[in-house]
Symmetry: C2
Subunit: 198 residues, 2 copies
């Protein structure tokens, strides 16, 4: 969407290794007005899908999930990346490989907060290889919950996560899809079908 | 405040070791309407303090910080618990001991997002021993930023964090202060000055 593409062009920074830094507004410092627009856009896309729960993964997904949940008026649940003493034993778990941190980690989600009656909107700030999202889908599968849609702020269209999820039949709404980035810092976006590179 | 005390009494669970589980609405599943009330309460308390930034620590603090920032119309910054490849080298760091996880961890915050011109509201879901909050205060001190206030959803009044911070002159607003809990699951609250146990 235009508002997010504009903001990424203005404040995003391209770094070697196809890294796109958006930590001035999306995942370290947070512009809550922008996040509110993100939440509104997800609501406009999925409001007729019977969503009764927003699911994300800590940490930066939490902000987007909360702003989205305000529009749907449903609870957020976030998967945790480490097992705390304070989580009861009865949890769903899935193993996720993080390319950002260069290691595997387990995500856990209490069985109390996801079940067969749930129709879930999965949201996250980034979709690249898609490992985190596949972990969340795995958790939904274990719970017998239905994935009603996937809302992503920024998809790295040159990595395989988005194509894989769409090939599996998931309704993925990425508000900005990066087609490619250049060494001198230019960022090109495209539509979900690969057309209209701009 | 009444709304939060009522909710804790209704949905909180007391566990051995003075653990108060509120993961059905505050730090695993999130009730965004309740979090909105929390944010509004912090705004009512600190709206005349010149706050220009909300600072918290991942992960569960992020939700409260976002809902609070909407009222103040200022950015959120959250300290990260692990050093990611995606964070530039130029960061403030502080070491925090987590009693929940039973280990030390470093928090990091990019120097770009906190400086001498900032007057910061620190927020978090829980205050117990106060190690995380002292880490955030340390980061503010390194940045030359002013701590304009501290907003806490639930303070464990029987642990030393709140008393310590108030003794250091910080303006701590805890919306619910747990005086003590009993083995059969009863939860007693009190005012910040120790009076009016209920």
């Amino acid at each position: 969407m235009q508002f997010l593409e504009d903001r990424i062009r203005r404040d995003g920074q391209v770094r070697p290794g196809n890294i796109l830094k958006v930590d001035s507004f999306l995942n370290h410092q947070l512009d809550v007005n922008l996040l509110d627009q993100v939440g509104k856009a997800f609501y406009d896309e999925f409001k007729d899908c019977g969503i009764n729960r927003i699911l994300t993964i800590e940490a930066s997904g939490i902000a987007i999930a909360c702003m989205t949940a305000r529009y749907f008026n449903v609870p957020v649940v976030f998967a945790k990346k480490a097992k705390s003493k304070n989580i009861d034993g009865d949890v769903y778990t899935s193993t996720v490989h993080s390319f950002t941190y260069g290691k595997d980690y387990d995500i856990t989600l209490s069985k109390k907060y996801l079940g067969p009656d749930d129709k879930v909107l999965l949201v996250d700030d980034f979709l690249a290889v898609g490992k985190a999202m596949r972990g969340l889908i795995d958790v939904c599968s274990q719970a017998g919950a239905t994935v009603g849609g996937i809302g992503i702020a920024i998809e790295k269209g040159f990595q395989e996560g988005g194509a894989y999820l769409r090939s599996q039949g998931y309704d993925v709404c990425s508000l900005a899809i990066v087609d490619h980035m250049t060494d001198d810092g230019k960022i090109y976006f495209r539509d979900a079908d690969g057309s209209n590179v701009r």
